[in-house]
Each structure stands twice: as structure tokens, then as C-alpha cells.
């Protein structure tokens, strides 16, 4: 377990030693702030529902930037050989890397908690729906991170890793648009697979088992695939 933390710590320091972390942090927070202002100014209601939707949209674009190098860089520089010949299980490597990126992502979420204090100061927001909204966006981001880590484990090229995760995230995020032309069970499947309806429930204060299971199983599924993906034994 201590090795999982050692890897997580190493990942986290790597983020803060490269400019990409600061670019993502500053960009995310500035864009979020602008949208927060615009949405509150327009809606004139003490709710973060639409802010969460914008955050979700932005994360579709930002998270692949955070995760693209997690495994691909190790593969490119050969440090993966160092990790995988050290007495540490592949599961611990994957978990450590996931934990590191999760902590960084949680930092971004924590910085947006200020929005709650601002609307709390000026109005009477529904605290419960804000709390569940934060939980929802955090779960969704965590799912996106797992997808990003998975695609990063497929290649030693960061760009390919990023583009692959864009493809997956776009299809999950925009799948709702295709449901117009679908009907019956197909419609239900696409609706469930897409992220749209799941976060929607959280932002209005609903925590349903189906939504939580959706995110958690998605995360676990991606991490298990990553775990097997980095194993060289598949190509014996």
C-alpha cells in the first residue's frame, strides 16, 4: 500500500514540475469563473446546476490533457521497465497513478467550491443539490481520468493517447444527441451509456444507485483493462 502512495506522490510531483499542470489549473479555473459569472448573471437563480453542466463539458476537453502522459511517457522513456522490474505489482502501479491524478483533479474541484460560498452569500441555494452536484461532477471526472489512463496505457505517443480518450469521451458525452434517431432498447442502452443523464440527476439533488454504479463500474472497468494492458504477458 505504501508503494501505491509512493507512486501517487511521484505522479503528483510530476504534475507540478511540468507546465501543463499550471496551464490546466489556470485555464480551468479562469474559464469556470467566466461561465459561473455568465450563468448566474443570466439565470438569476441561486443554483449551480448549469455551472456543473459547463464543468462537465470542459472536463471532456481538459482531462485527456491531464492523463495523456501518465503511461505513454513512461513507455517512451523506458521508465516503465524500471517500474515493472521493481518488486511492485502492476495493480499497485495502476492504482498509484490513478490516485495521483485523482488528487490533482480533486484540487480543481476544491477550487470551485468558492462558487457555493458566493451564491450562499447572495441567495438561498438548495444545499443538498449543490452537495450532490459536486459529488456527481467529481465522480464523472474520476471516470474520465480512468478512461484517460486506459488510453495512455495503449501507446507511447502522448498525442495518440489524448486523441483516443477524446474519441471515447466525445462518444460518451454526445451520445445523447443520437437518441433522437434511435428507439426501443437501443435508445435505452445509449442513454444509459452516455454521461448526460447521470450527471443530470446529481445536479438536481438525486443520488440514484444506477448513477453511482455507472460511474464506479466505469472506473473499475477502465482500471482493470489498464492493469491488463500494461502486462507484457499478453503478447507471449
Amino acid at each position: 500500500m505504501s508503494k501505491v502512495f509512493a507512486i501517487a506522490k511521484k505522479e503528483l510531483t510530476a504534475y507540478f514540475k511540468s507546465p501543463i499542470a499550471y496551464i490546466v489549473l489556470i485555464l480551468t479555473i479562469s474559464v469556470f469563473n467566466i461561465f459561473f459569472y455568465m450563468i448566474v448573471d443570466q439565470n438569476r437563480e441561486a443554483s449551480l446546476r448549469d455551472v456543473f453542466k459547463v464543468m462537465e463539458f470542459m472536463f471532456v476537453f481538459l482531462i485527456p490533457l491531464l492523463t495523456m502522459k501518465i503511461f505513454s511517457e513512461e513507455k517512451l522513456t523506458g521508465t516503465i521497465e524500471f517500474l515493472m522490474t521493481s518488486p511492485i505489482t502492476n495493480t499497485a502501479i495502476v492504482l498509484g497513478k490513478y490516485l495521483g491524478s485523482l488528487i490533482f483533479f480533486t484540487l480543481i474541484i476544491i477550487m470551485t467550491v468558492t462558487y457555493y460560498f458566493i451564491i450562499e452569500y447572495f441567495g438561498q441555494p438548495d444545499r443538498m443539490s449543490i452537495l450532490t452536484g459536486f459529488l456527481g461532477i467529481w465522480l464523472e471526472g474520476s471516470f474520465f481520468l480512468a478512461i484517460g489512463i486506459l488510453t495512455s496505457s495503449w501507446t507511447h505517443n502522448q498525442i495518440i493517447a489524448a486523441i483516443s480518450s477524446y474519441v471515447i469521451l466525445f462518444s460518451l458525452y454526445f451520445s445523447i444527441s443520437f437518441t433522437n434517431s434511435l428507439s426501443g432498447p437501443m435508445d435505452a442502452i445509449v442513454r444509459y451509456a452516455g454521461t448526460w443523464s447521470h450527471l443530470g440527476n446529481f445536479t438536481v439533488g438525486l443520488i440514484t444507485i444506477a448513477d453511482v454504479v455507472y460511474y464506479l463500474s466505469g472506473i473499475i472497468f477502465c482500471l482493470i483493462l489498464t492493469r491488463f494492458g500494461i502486462e507484457n504477458r499478453l503478447w507471449r
Binding site: K10, G78, E81, T85
Partner: protein, 249 residues
């Protein structure tokens, strides 16, 4: 210490290792020789459990590489061909990280890091970022990483490639100083180097072991038909010209 039996390795249809068998005893220093692409790195990667063998069996210190790879990894220190370094870390942080994931007990970690810094002669760059170091320093940081957990078996893949003569000498000295404590396998194509360090030579050609002898024996065998004793280089060239003629068999 190491027992390899009929190890083969396929990459797709390409057979990188053909029926490789050998035994290495504790405390031996063995040199893997061979041209580029002969299969040295593949063999080392299989020994370290980084790659699985397609068939065959390898036992290191009583543990099967296939079944107990974690136990194996605790026993070995490995320096791949390109030192596996994180260029944005400082030498100190990197070694600390290596010590953490290689089971160096937390209490002795700091003193162990100081020891390897001194042993590898890199104390003066301990606070520098690895990315700015010269090739020679990087190589030595790579060796420091490999010996940090006091492995019984040290596997070095071309530890001196790309170094200038002085750095080369330093690395060689370092490897020599290590050999008193442990079994060492190293690969190189700089033959004079192996002559100075290794006691036993395994020559690999196209995935097959064609020579497995002590250095003295090998030189003696090939000096029979000549008046003067051969150098390893002459033997190497001779062996490769012989086998390339017999390539069609």
C-alpha cells in the same frame, strides 16, 4: 543462482531466442556478448521478468521467474540499455522513489541513499535535476538505482555504451567494485571491457548461445592453432565469420 532451461522467445513469427540454456553460479561475473540484435536484451528482459518467455524455464535463487516474479524482482537490480530515469526529478528524489518501491526499509533509507551516492560517485549532483546531467552521470544514477536494494543479482545491459573513455573507466571501476558482493550479468559489445571484468563469457548469435566458457578457457581454445594467444576480439570475429558461413544449415 540462475538456471535457464530451453528458453525460447517469439516476437510474432520472429524467433528472438532459440533454446537457450545455461547456469550461473553465485558470485560469478558473466558477460553476455553478441552483435546488435543477437538477443542479449531480450534474454535480460526475460531474466528480470519484464518479458515472459514463450517457452522454457528460468529459476533464480530457487524461485521460478514465471510463478514468483515478485520474489525475483526483490532479488535483482536491473539497469536497462537506456537508464530508466525521470528527467524532471532530482537525483535524490529519484533514488528515494526507487528505494521506496524496491522495499528498502524506511528506517535505513536515507543512509542507504547516501551509501549508493558515494559508491557511484554521484554525491555532487544529488540535488540536480536528472534531465540536465551528462550521459556519464545518468548512467551512474541508473546503476545507483539498480543496487539500492542490495540485490543478489545485478543485471546490466550495456552499462558503458555511449560514454567517453574517462566515464567508461569510472563505470567499469564501479562494476568491478560491486562484483565482490554479488552475481553480475552484463552485456556489451566492447570486448576489451568484458576481458577486464568478466570471468565467464556467453556469446549469443541470432538467439542461440554459441559459446559458454570461462574467459581463460575460451582464449586458450582459440590460441591452439596460433603461436600467440588470441584476444577476445579475435575470437569474437572468428566465431562470427565461422557461423555466418554455416548459416544455411
Amino acid at each position: 543462482m540462475i538456471l535457464a532451461q530451453n528458453v525460447t522467445k517469439y516476437f510474432g513469427r520472429f524467433q528472438a531466442l532459440k533454446d537457450v540454456s545455461f547456469e550461473i553460479k553465485k558470485g560469478e561475473i558473466v558477460g553476455f556478448l553478441g552483435r546488435n540484435g543477437a538477443g542479449k536484451t531480450t534474454l535480460m528482459r526475460i531474466l528480470t521478468s519484464y518479458l515472459p518467455a514463450s517457452s522454457g524455464k528460468i529459476v533464480i535463487g530457487g524461485d521460478d521467474v514465471e510463478k514468483n516474479s515478485l520474489a525475483i524482482r526483490r532479488k535483482i537490480g536491473y539497469l536497462p540499455e537506456t537508464p530508466p530515469l525521470y528527467s524532471n526529478m532530482t537525483v535524490n528524489d529519484y533514488l528515494k522513489f526507487a528505494a521506496e518501491i524496491k522495499d528498502v526499509p524506511a528506517r535505513g533509507r536515507r543512509s542507504r541513499i547516501n551509501e549508493v551516492l558515494e559508491e557511484c560517485n554521484i554525491g555532487e549532483v544529488r540535488d540536480k535535476t536528472i534531465g540536465v546531467l551528462s550521459r556519464g552521470y545518468k548512467q551512474r544514477v541508473g546503476i545507483a538505482q539498480a543496487i539500492i536494494n542490495k540485490p543478489e543479482l545485478l543485471i546490466l545491459d550495456e552499462p558503458t555504451s555511449g560514454l567517453d573513455p574517462i566515464q567508461n573507466l569510472q563505470v567499469r571501476k564501479l562494476v568491478k567494485s560491486l562484483k565482490y558482493e554479488r552475481t553480475v550479468i552484463l552485456s556489451t559489445h566492447i570486448l576489451s571491457e568484458i576481458e577486464q571484468i568478466a570471468q565467464r563469457i556467453l556469446i549469443i548469435r541470432s538467439g542461440r548461445i554459441i559459446v559458454d566458457k570461462t574467459l581463460d578457457m575460451l582464449l586458450k581454445d582459440y590460441s591452439d592453432d596460433q603461436c600467440a594467444e588470441s584476444t577476445l576480439e579475435e575470437v569474437f570475429v572468428k566465431l562470427h565469420s565461422e557461423t555466418s558461413e554455416g548459416n544455411n544449415e
